[in-house]
Symmetry: C2
Subunit: 699 residues, 2 copies
Amino acid sequence: MSNLSMYPVTLNGNDIQNKRQEIRDYFHNTFSLFEKVFELLKNDDVFYRKSEITRHPMIFYFGHTATFFVNKLISMKVINERVDANFESVFAVGVDEMSWDDVDSKNYSWPKVDEVREYRTKVRGLVDELIITLPLNLPISQESDMWVILMGIEHERIHIETSLVLHTQMPLEFIKEVDEFKACSHSSAAPKNEMLSIKAQHIELGKEKTHHLYGWDNEYGTYEEDVKEFKTSKYLVSNSEYMEFVKDGGYETEEFWDDEGREFLKDSKAAYPTFWVLENGDYRYRTISKLIEMPLDWPVDVNALEAEAFCRYKSQKDGVIYSLPSEAEYRAIYNQSGLQDLPDFHESRANLNFYHYASSCPVNEFSFNGIYDVVGNVWQWSRTPIRGFEGFEIHPAYDDFSVPTFDDKHALILGSSWASSGNLIMKHSRYAFRKHFPQFAGFRYVISENSNDEEIDIYESDDLVSQYCEFQYGDTHFGVSNFAIECAKIASKFATKKGKALDLGCATGRATYELAKDFDEVEGIDFSVRFVQVGANLKDNGFVAFTSKEEGDLVVNKKVTIEELGYENLRDKVSFWQGDACNLKPNFNSYDLIIATNLIDRLYNPRLFLDTVDERLNEDGVLILTSPYTWQESSTQKELWLGGYVDSNGVEVKTLDSLKNVMSDKFELLHVQDLDFVIKETARKYQHTISQVSIWKKR
Amino acid sequence: MSNLSMYPVTLNGNDIQNKRQEIRDYFHNTFSLFEKVFELLKNDDVFYRKSEITRHPMIFYFGHTATFFVNKLISMKVINERVDANFESVFAVGVDEMSWDDVDSKNYSWPKVDEVREYRTKVRGLVDELIITLPLNLPISQESDMWVILMGIEHERIHIETSLVLHTQMPLEFIKEVDEFKACSHSSAAPKNEMLSIKAQHIELGKEKTHHLYGWDNEYGTYEEDVKEFKTSKYLVSNSEYMEFVKDGGYETEEFWDDEGREFLKDSKAAYPTFWVLENGDYRYRTISKLIEMPLDWPVDVNALEAEAFCRYKSQKDGVIYSLPSEAEYRAIYNQSGLQDLPDFHESRANLNFYHYASSCPVNEFSFNGIYDVVGNVWQWSRTPIRGFEGFEIHPAYDDFSVPTFDDKHALILGSSWASSGNLIMKHSRYAFRKHFPQFAGFRYVISENSNDEEIDIYESDDLVSQYCEFQYGDTHFGVSNFAIECAKIASKFATKKGKALDLGCATGRATYELAKDFDEVEGIDFSVRFVQVGANLKDNGFVAFTSKEEGDLVVNKKVTIEELGYENLRDKVSFWQGDACNLKPNFNSYDLIIATNLIDRLYNPRLFLDTVDERLNEDGVLILTSPYTWQESSTQKELWLGGYVDSNGVEVKTLDSLKNVMSDKFELLHVQDLDFVIKETARKYQHTISQVSIWKKR
């Protein structure tokens, strides 16, 4: 099975043409392997099934990885033309269980599988062409257009693994066997686990921008910790070892579970691991496409809550405190095991990259200096929630890859699994999931005196997001009133009906709440999850907390509660979603009001938005545009500006005039006014902008 | 002589180490060739002679090319430590005849030649080390640190040629012979010139960012013109052909000269070309180190005013209009001659790159498809003043290389000379000089119906400069008074004596004039000539003209005269200079007032400035600092910030407190106040900043 999955390409090298060919090979291998995974679905009907109620049906994932390429290439302005605008809105978002992901099926009418296959082929051709023709320097840097291609490839590698998880959660009758995915065929009694000493080490995590392999933004930066000597289990916890916990009533004993764990038990009704099947009093085991005798010496697949419960159970039984390893402790284990990073590490040495099996295998099969499965077989849950390292910087092509997971609710999984490849099997990769999420993940336990993590910092420190928090929830300056509140007042004054409203480009959500004082229901949409999550967190957690810059690096921390804002009773009226105003999903419709605040001069194609926005409004619906018309090429190509240019006849075109031309068929212009706003950059530096508000009523 | 000068390195390639070696070889070749040129000076005393009264003595140039490397590397933050701060202030500026170049010898105490030799050796070692160790990607881009090195090398190549011009202007007794620079030893009667047809062509000038050779900022962008068929002289104008004009009284006939030409005649008392020598009624010819019989078939060396006068003379004589070729016409000649760009063009094919001679040679020696000396021998004056192409962008490492020459007073010279090498002999290079400047330049003439250039656009369109013009000379906004005027008022209030004042960081110079209402003499200094020239032009031309952004690309043109400003009588009290506040020349001293407006948070090392500023003040002198303390790493490395950080004890450090600590020994703090300013970005977008003004009296 060694040729099913190639190793990722390195970023450096001397031969450009050769590197292009390497990337092409790696891309096609990835794209094909992903499609191979979907051959496991018995027929096209299965594509419309969900593996879990909280998830999209499989057709979404099938389209999603191709759409991802196009959406990122568009937003980074590598390409200008969509392959299929409809597909690229419905397949765009909904992967993680975030409140702003819309997985309600009634909001989607899914295309035929063959249409998606055809779409994938088009995207394959597009990406192949780009790999050959894009400008390319070596080493490939994060600023390179080719980085966006590599990002698309590694994104697809993630979905190769997570799709296999979803398939394994499907009823067996929906899955067929595929030759390339053969499970391990041997198992025997499990070895007795034992504790090994890991010596004290100074650990440095994080990699440099010049590292020779692709990385997600969360991998860069620095983190240092002095790890004291500790002990780790020699093996991953096997099905056999975990069986004791199950048989001792572990799932029924409340004290082994924390609050989140008890909630998981209540919601899921779980009584044993998710890939175990109870038949006639015996536990059997589900591989992707088969039900087999329980492989006692294979690692157990559990989520983080189950792994933690096991540790509490074993601690009580042995009178010693067991826990999951921290991220730094895992690196200490890695170092002591003598492992090397790609490409020096040979894939045959561990159960990963589809080299040996399309399933787990015995926990005593792959040794590294006497420690087993340091990488491969199944992922290993960590007690460390994922956070950015010192110097963390968002990559602009995917600004919501990491930030939404820095919420202390996403725990790191370490070491990769049999289904991992690409970035997933690199030394520096960092993936994290919600603690109740099933993956091909198990655990090893440690006995450790290393302290737990630092206190949570609740204050938003993303520069741009905290600037917007200050703008929407902070102080006013130079006597200029809060812009979100003023916009909502204008909206209330001009809207004729007060049913459903859309706050498009809602940023951190203040106007969404303000509108909800007067409207029955308000949806806030922004292109960036970094912003959307502020409004969503206010709803879920009851506060907004942010830092506000004063001088240089000095900041003040600010926190505003939902009670202080007077929004306690508006929670159920507001909802927040991620979306692209130029390619909104069809279900965003039937509004009495759409307000697009400082949006049109930041869209990559404002006409795309304006040409169809009327279809989303009810009869007599009102559209409000506010903008200072600061057109800039970094947001909008000059040919697509609505104003601020001289046309081919030498006439100066102003934006308001263009808006009148574009809109007059479908809208009546009710009113135009100026509205100032002030954005604080530091205690001494502000942007003072005069927005033009234009109010349009649907004809 | 083929090995005296190497060809420049290309920017592309596959082998990084190899490219480093190529750059090293090219650097050392350049640095050594430059030093070889200075061996022509008979002894060290000659280094303190000037070739012309308007120029620095030769010692300046000898230090300048090395200093250039260091100053550019410092300002681009490639290095942090100076080699010699004093040398790097006195050798910094003064090359072109700009009003802000200070060539008054009493302001300088020049170092010993051996000290400068030693300094050059140190800089050579530094640059050599950097070429080996700097990060390097191929192709080398304008953003690369290595670009700064290439810039230093090409800058030195320019001075190799211009220093040879200066040497040739020196009295012969100051020059000795150097083996490597051997003049051409043959000449005979000149061939009769004739006109050749050049066919109509669509000409595209300008090169792309991806071009394989180094370029100055003025070479990039696009320019298109349909050139109609025209005729060009087959040969450059020879000494023989030009002799007719001299003997026919050309230098005494006013109608052959325009205003600028007549002024040149009056100032220079010229009666024949600068390298001709009249001895006993006969004209002889000056090479670098010899006086020889007039080489009648060599090209005449003249400035643009002399070339234009010749064309008027010949037009009158022949009844046909002759003119100098335009830039586009020259490219048409180039195309028809079948020339290739470097590195394909072999240096043996023309009189350039020191391959054949260290002098001109007969005009009928090097033919290209029947047109002679299309490149090499002497430069050819053009009738086109240099301007930026469409898409022109300033390179940040050398923001005043081109912009000050876009004044319609600098004419392009085309085709290179026997003393040209490096960028000077590339197809796309563009050099321009004031029309009265002597170079190794002559001319060919054309008969052409191609139109002359477009009208001059007097309105400053450099984004940042015009933003500052609007800030200092434009409208006020949000009721905030003009900042330059308010600063001058505060200065008048607190200064105890009103002798000489220094406006440091003067930008476009408004406060310099305002201070001159109250002070006897005011000097304005800015790091960037782009800014300094606005104040200087107001003094020289009597107006400031700029564009002010309204929306997108749309602007309004604004013009303010010196009379409207009420500054007519202040002209003689103000002067403008280019300078680095962290490394000011010693002659800037004896001030009663120094005002540094929004400067300290933009300096690369603010302590360097603050630690010595007291030495430049008279007794009871006053220093005024204004700043919003917007520290940013792009201007100042974090370790050098004066405030806006948390120190190693965890204490927040504010800038004002730091200033008090740094200054208290030498200054008494008189007063602190806030002062707002507003900078317009567009008609709807403004920066509103609250500067802190602190006023310090020298103890």
